[in-house]
Symmetry: C2
Subunit: 324 residues, 2 copies
């Protein structure tokens, strides 16, 4: 059995791969599973810092290159985690790059799956940037997507294809619309929500961070721990449980920026929160303020996807896993 | 000023072109308009039966061929009506053809528009096959698309791109989700809803027609007259009236198959309705029964799109325009 993780050199990808290696997969699409013997991690750079494991193969290349994808997936891949993406801010600033990686590459991957002998399970990292809304709106499972960014548009288009390719039996797809993943370790990236992690991560390490939006702004967040658990859970669920729609809004939690800062202060004191600057950024606001922040995720909870118990638990887990 | 009608050799395309030639366009995107001097009708076959007019140019070619599209639209097209499509039944049976024409060709057209000097107004023929639902569901303007056909999937994907390309200023798009257009003249085609026209058109001409669904099945219909008026109206409306969403569910009317047959009988007597056979067709039912049939189209009505006054008016207009 062969698993491929596309975009596996990123923080979430590596966390997912590590979990898979440590724990194995007990079932796939509701069927009990033998152990897997191949786990391929693919990204534009070689993934580093992964466990030594004979099942692991680390490859680098261009996910938008058709020949590369053909060679990578071949005709016998059983499970694909597709996390490869150009992040939101970058896809907004470089339209062509976003279209190439987020849309065209995904289309090529899906097309290639038609030539895999047994339709693979494909778990896709979609995004709650699918919704761009009035500030007051509550997002339900049947709310129409209304992306106000090119990134969100590209993600919703792939969601639609995943449904149609699954309906036709070309793949067995599962698309997870991710909340803002917080707290990310490492450096700030070009995601428009990068600051959501920075305002916790940087002060905890004695560094300044900027918050480009007002304290009362609400965010829809999910921890790295839960999102990687939910990726694996998505592969486990039997296809028929999704009925005619393979897209799921993951169960994040709604917090205000102020609640995040208060939680940081509770954990690390005023000397931490005083390291936060409050300089507005018009570009970031133009995207972030269109993201929805209040959801009812009945479908995800009914399918057994996990929610973070609290904001404090997210911050404590970050300190435990990444800072100690 | 140059207008291009893609897919202009079809019934709706020719009706639209004839209206444009006879009447001109008085405004575009809310701005008063000088007369247009070029109207190009493009399709895979040469359009026939159009008025003689010095402004008219009739071309044939492959809408999915990039070079053809580049030459056709050049760098100074002002208004594009994009009606070119593989119909629903054909796109379901030939997945690759549907993807090529309904999705890839549309993506290429949108891409080319970025190189037109002044962002063109683009009016797209989308479809209510965007929705595939439980029979009881009422579709509102903010109901999430849930296509249950490849045709519907492809149309929704283009709707999303039209919104994003418009938001970025690459085009000034307007996407109309069409109900089932009834009564179409000519021969049955490969649309899964072709029978909706056949059961009226054929008996009126003394020919037999088959109805593959039960009399109580509801349909969401719109006349050829109103849809062509609404295409022209879509070009007139100022961009800002659409706010952040260029997609509109056109205001059809809900009728049952039985109501259609009763209306036919009222107009043409029992000798007409006795020409209808009632042979179920599993393939057609598998698609048609997923189409939604009850809508609330507040947005379309607020934007001034027109609704048919009645089923009888649709049948009478067909007799007047197509049979006399």
């Amino acid at each position: 059995m062969r698993i491929v993780v596309l975009g596996g050199a990123g923080f979430i990808g590596k966390k997912l791969v590590t979990k898979l290696l440590n724990r194995g997969l007990v079932s796939l699409n509701g069927r009990p599973l033998e152990a897997f013997d191949q786990l391929v991690v693919f990204d534009k750079v070689k993934a580093t810092g992964l466990p030594e494991d004979p099942r692991l193969e680390i490859l680098e290349g261009d996910v938008a290159d058709l020949e590369t994808v053909r060679e990578l997936l071949g005709d016998h891949t059983d499970l694909i985690f597709h996390l490869a993406a150009v992040v939101s801010g970058e896809a907004e600033k470089d339209f062509d790059l976003g279209m190439r990686v987020n849309l065209q590459a995904s289309m090529q991957i899906l097309e290639h799956c038609r030539f895999i002998k047994r339709a693979p399970v494909l778990v896709f990292a979609s995004s709650c940037a699918a919704y761009g809304i009035e500030l007051s709106e509550l997002i339900r499972d049947d709310t129409a997507p209304s992306p106000q960014s090119s990134y969100g548009t590209q993600k919703v288009m792939v969601d639609l294809l995943i449904n149609d390719y699954s309906r036709r039996g070309f793949i067995d797809g599962r698309s997870l619309r991710l909340p803002t993943i917080t707290v990310r370790p490492g450096k700030p990236n070009a995601a428009t929500t990068s600051f959501v992690s920075s305002i916790i991560r940087e002060p905890l390490q004695g560094r300044r961070a900027n918050c480009p939006v007002a304290p009362e702004v609400k965010l829809w967040i999910h921890s790295p721990e839960k999102v990687t658990e939910n990726f694996i859970h998505a592969a486990h669920i039997p296809a028929q449980a999704f009925k005619s729609n393979r897209v799921v809004n993951l169960p994040g939690i709604t917090v205000t920026v102020k609640q995040m800062v208060d939680a940081l202060e509770a954990v690390a004191g005023k000397e931490a929160t005083e390291l936060i600057d409050w300089e507005p950024d018009a570009f970031l606001q133009s995207i972030v303020l269109t993201f929805p922040r209040e959801f009812v995720t009945e479908k995800a909870l009914a399918l057994g996807f996990q929610q973070d118990p609290s904001l404090e638990s997210i911050i404590e887990a970050f300190i435990e896993h990444e800072l100690t």
